[in-house]
């Protein structure tokens, strides 16, 4: 209503959408377990359905990112470096994108994989979910502190939440290496194209945790200054 002549001195906090984005990413990551199960069972319909769900979440995350960007025009004073925040938003979005890429790759063609390979893939997925959840914990904690109390000391303590992300990411790297080697033994069973395809899925899966660990690193840079 038109009765106030008090200018809007305090802008909307860009640190709120950042936390929403992380929650959506976790929802996306949790669907990876279901889609892998459906893939292992050769259930093409479910793979497609879950991919659609993931795409919807990815789109939602995109909108949230857009909102965060709109909240940081150059006329706003922020408690952190603007460039760092923008860089974080970019890396944050890569996680959601990579999860969608995994699902899309699975949609292309289903291969019949031996049980041990399926199990190894499931381990990687479980660890990836761990990484994304650890990442969300760090974003929620640090984002929450930036949105409300700004206590440098508390923020610095919260940085302690980032190294576990990096440790789990490293574990996934090792698992990915082992699994890739095993995949080449499947040439007779699924053909060279099959090996290539599953390799790409595994590679893409590993990129999810890569992105999460990079986002965690950006978060640390942002609040360490």
């Amino acid at each position: 209503m038109r009765y106030a002549r008090f200018p809007r001195a305090i802008a909307k906090s860009p640190f709120i959408p950042l936390q929403t984005h992380a929650s959506i990413t976790v929802k996306e990551a949790l669907l990876l377990r279901e889609i892998l199960k459906a893939y292992g069972e050769g259930d093409e319909g479910s793979v497609r359905r879950i991919t659609e769900q993931i795409s919807k979440l990815e789109y939602e995350a995109d909108k949230v990112k857009q909102e965060a960007r709109e909240r940081i025009p150059s006329s706003i004073i922020l408690p952190v470096d603007r460039g760092d925040l923008q860089e974080f938003l970019r890396t944050q979005d890569v996680i959601a994108d990579k999860i969608q890429d995994v699902a899309r790759l699975m949609c292309f063609r289903l291969y019949d994989l031996p049980k041990d390979v399926r199990e190894q893939m499931l381990t990687i997925v479980d660890r990836t979910i761990d990484v994304v959840e650890e990442y969300k914990k760090a974003v929620t904690k640090i984002g929450g502190l930036l949105a409300t109390s700004f206590r440098r000391k508390e923020v610095k303590e919260a940085i302690g939440l980032i190294p576990p992300i990096e440790r789990t990411e490293h574990e996934i790297d090792i698992l990915e290496g082992q699994l890739s080697k095993r995949l080449f033994q499947l040439e007779a069973r699924i053909g060279p194209l099959g090996v290539y395809h599953v390799l790409r899925i595994v590679k893409c899966l590993a990129e999810v945790s890569d992105a999460a660990s990079r986002a965690g690193d950006r978060l640390r840079t942002m609040v360490s200054k």
């Binding site: 038109r2 002549r5 001195a9 305090i10 906090s13 004073i77 949105a147 206590r151």
Partner: protein
């Protein structure tokens, strides 16, 4: 007849000041959920009235007799001039409020008084040099300095609170609750400071008509009008602003309020009519610069500067036109 018109114009202005400017300065205390609306209105009303009556005479003197030299003007001219200035400022404020422009009543009334002065110059009653340009210049300098002062002071106060209290506190929510209680005090302080400064915008011209010294009765009329505006309309504005500034926690609100009230009260002591709203904005920016807010909008500086640049000429032109018109009757 003209006296009644003048009184109504003064009351309208006072109502408007209460509905908007006093409400603006009460936004944070409601935004922080420290007091409910009724408590805010009672406390702000009493403090504002006290500020107006006890401390309002200096600024009222500046607005009433500080800009236009009254010696050599007939009582009729003064009455017409006062009426023209009141109506011009009131009209401009109404338009600006409708357009959502952060316009100050202080700036409007000063511009309007200048318009009246120029009207007497056109009628060859006084020379253009005899308008108190130095006073006008001082007032305009204070418009620049008051938001800056609010900013610097708020920055200092928040930095001190941050370094000493916030850094050591074990229980932040409890600390915020304590500052919430302290905000009851700063809210009264800000309402008092506001009354001491802004009552002049409503009754400055009126006191000019009544005579040499500013009477407490005139100040009380203005003060009551402001409180009436707060109670009948201001609560809507408080509500709107309270919802907008939820990021302002009590430690931040306390810093901004203390800085604003101190700056405005100092200006009152020097008889300078300043904008409380602009000073609050300066103080909020100060808290933001001290790292106390998630995002501070700097675009409003542009808006505020624009409102300065528009208000004085528009209010002066309106007042000049009205004065010349009234003198023809």
């Amino acid at each position: 007849m003209i006296q009644w018109l003048l009184l109504i114009a003064a009351l309208y202005m006072a109502w408007n000041i209460g509905a908007n400017d006093l409400a603006n300065s009460m936004g944070d205390v409601v935004g922080c959920h420290v007091l409910n609306m009724r408590q805010v209105i009672v406390l702000a009303g009493i403090s504002n009235l006290a500020g107006a009556v006890l401390f309002g005479s200096r600024v009222t003197t500046t607005v009433g007799g500080g800009i236009v030299p009254l010696q050599g003007l007939s009582p009729h001219m003064i009455a017409m001039g006062a009426t023209a200035a009141m109506l011009a400022a009131g009209c401009w404020i109404t338009i600006a409020t409708y357009l959502h422009m952060p316009v100050s009543t202080s700036h409007s009334i000063v511009g309007a008084m200048l318009g009246f002065g120029l009207g007497t110059v056109i009628h060859h009653q006084i020379s253009i040099q005899s308008i108190h340009w130095v006073v006008l210049l001082k007032i305009m300098a204070s418009w620049l300095l008051s938001p800056l002062g609010g900013m610097v002071l708020a920055w200092c106060i928040f930095m001190i609170i941050k370094r000493t209290v916030i850094a050591r506190a074990k229980d932040i929510p409890r600390l915020e609750r304590i500052f919430g209680k302290l905000m009851v005090g700063t809210s009264c302080y800000i309402a008092f400071a506001h009354g001491s400064n802004d009552v002049a915008n409503a009754v400055g011209p009126l006191s000019m008509v009544i005579g040499s010294r500013v009477s407490p009765i005139v100040l009380a009329i203005g003060g009551v009008g402001i409180v009436f505006g707060l109670a009948t309309w201001g609560y809507k504005v408080i509500d709107t602003i309270g919802r907008r500034i939820t990021e302002l926690t009590p430690t931040r609100g306390f810093s901004a309020d203390l800085a604003t009230a101190t700056t405005v009260l100092s200006c009152s002591a020097f008889g300078l009519p300043v904008s409380t709203t602009h000073t609050i904005v300066g103080a909020i920016i100060g808290v933001g610069l001290a790292g106390g807010l998630p995002a501070v909008n700097l675009n409003i500086i542009k808006q505020i500067v624009c409102s300065w640049l528009i208000t004085v000429p528009v209010a002066a032109a309106l007042s000049l036109g009205l004065y010349l018109g009234l003198m023809m009757i």
